[in-house]
């Protein structure tokens, strides 16, 4: 799978999320409180709402419409109505750029 140059690290604040669209697919890139970067599918598995409008708290992201919660490190669904896990993708930081390993 190719590494794609996705965003600048400064595009997203700590403990926040940004939407990233690539190849007709939508993702979110999340910057954790400990300054690590993670990438998951961009839509909630419950009703396909964009998670980029949601909230990042510690290592969880919460869907803005129904408050379903995922662990963004693993994609695990933690709180209903989110029941299906999120897909996750590897990230790496090179300089001030964030790369994502997408299919």
């Amino acid at each position: 799978m190719p590494w794609i140059d996705a965003i600048a690290a400064d595009d997203v604040e700590e403990e926040d999320v940004i939407r990233w669209d690539h190849d007709d697919k939508t993702y979110v890139i999340i910057r954790s409180p400990d300054d690590e970067f993670f990438c998951t599918a961009g839509l909630c598995t419950h009703e396909h709402v964009h998670l980029s409008d949601g909230m990042v708290m510690d290592h969880e992201i919460e869907c803005p419409r129904h408050n379903g919660i995922f662990d963004y490190r693993t994609g695990k669904a933690l709180r209903a109505p989110a029941c299906e896990h999120l897909s996750t993708y590897e990230t790496k930081k090179e300089g001030d750029r964030i790369f994502v390993n997408v299919p």
Binding site: P64, N67, A80
Partner: protein, 378 residues
Amino acid sequence: MSDATQPHSEISSTRDYSLTGASSRQAEEVGLAAAEWYHSDVPRKTMKAMMKRRDGPALRDTAIWIALHILFAAGGIYFWGSWIAVPFWLAYGVMYGSASDSRWHECGHGTPFRTRWMNDVVYHIASFQLIRNPVNWRWSHARHHTDTLIVGRDPEIAWMHPINLFLKALAFVGFVDTWASFKTLARNALGILSDDERIYIPETEWPKAAFWARVHLALFALTALAVLLMLANGMGWKSAIPILLIGGPRVYGCWHMVLTALLQHGGLPEDVTDHRLNSRTLYMNPISRWIYWNMNYHIEHHMFPMVPYYALPALHDEIKHDLPAPNTSIWDGYKEMMGAVMKQRRDPSHAVRKTLPPTAKPYNEFLHKHVPDRSDAG
């Protein structure tokens, strides 16, 4: 405050509010199901600050709520046999049968406490108080947020046409709702879900719905057993105390819940995709706001359900330039709502349409123009 009301679709007096009928199919066909809804613009930084969870405010309010339960119940029992007991029981009833609704609602969203298990504990206690299956209602409320007041999609529409004012008045003393709730619990405890419940609850959750129904029924059975034991011990009228404490307040204390909940969407149009059209924000007295946990900011809540109740006043200030002017009081809200409801009894297509301030973006009415003709429904 509001324009002359106007019809929003050709609607017959009989509509199909089930989630499996013609209205549901029509809503899907015209794009009303799981549609994109209007949101006021709020800078990300501001929204992040408003979404922030803190345990402090909810812990404080929950401690007060529990303390008031204890205080009012103790007063009711201590003064048993005297008229002085009556106001204590009435106040206890409101804590149990009304304040529980907003706790149920907010904790169901998971927003009041930062610590997740605290939300879950209060959610389960409040669900029991309200005789609501905590599984069913979590999912029905999620659907209510996806498809607010979309006929055939929203399982929580309070004002269904044709409107029966006698039943609505009866809701202030919760006999009918309580009976219906017990029937649902009994059905769920047997592992049976209605057609609508099967639509909005995923199959993986069905066993949980049966489990919690059984737990709730067992607790109510224990309460009834306590009454029987007290009667057997010759305690006479005092034997009513367990029922006054558990279950009973859902009947005699629900009036404030009904008073505020009917205002949320009453008299406003169905089948629109802008919460400014179908939800009502109003100002109210501080006691009602505390009981109701600020759900009087109802447009704000529907637009941004991640914002906890204690940040809703700030959210209101942030976006009020984009919202219709709030009703000034509960009374003002009822005047507007009941005026529309009385007209809706003759003409169900009638609805309040509020004027937006000049600073607001226009209503999101694209879908609104494509609302299905419901004259064949039902």
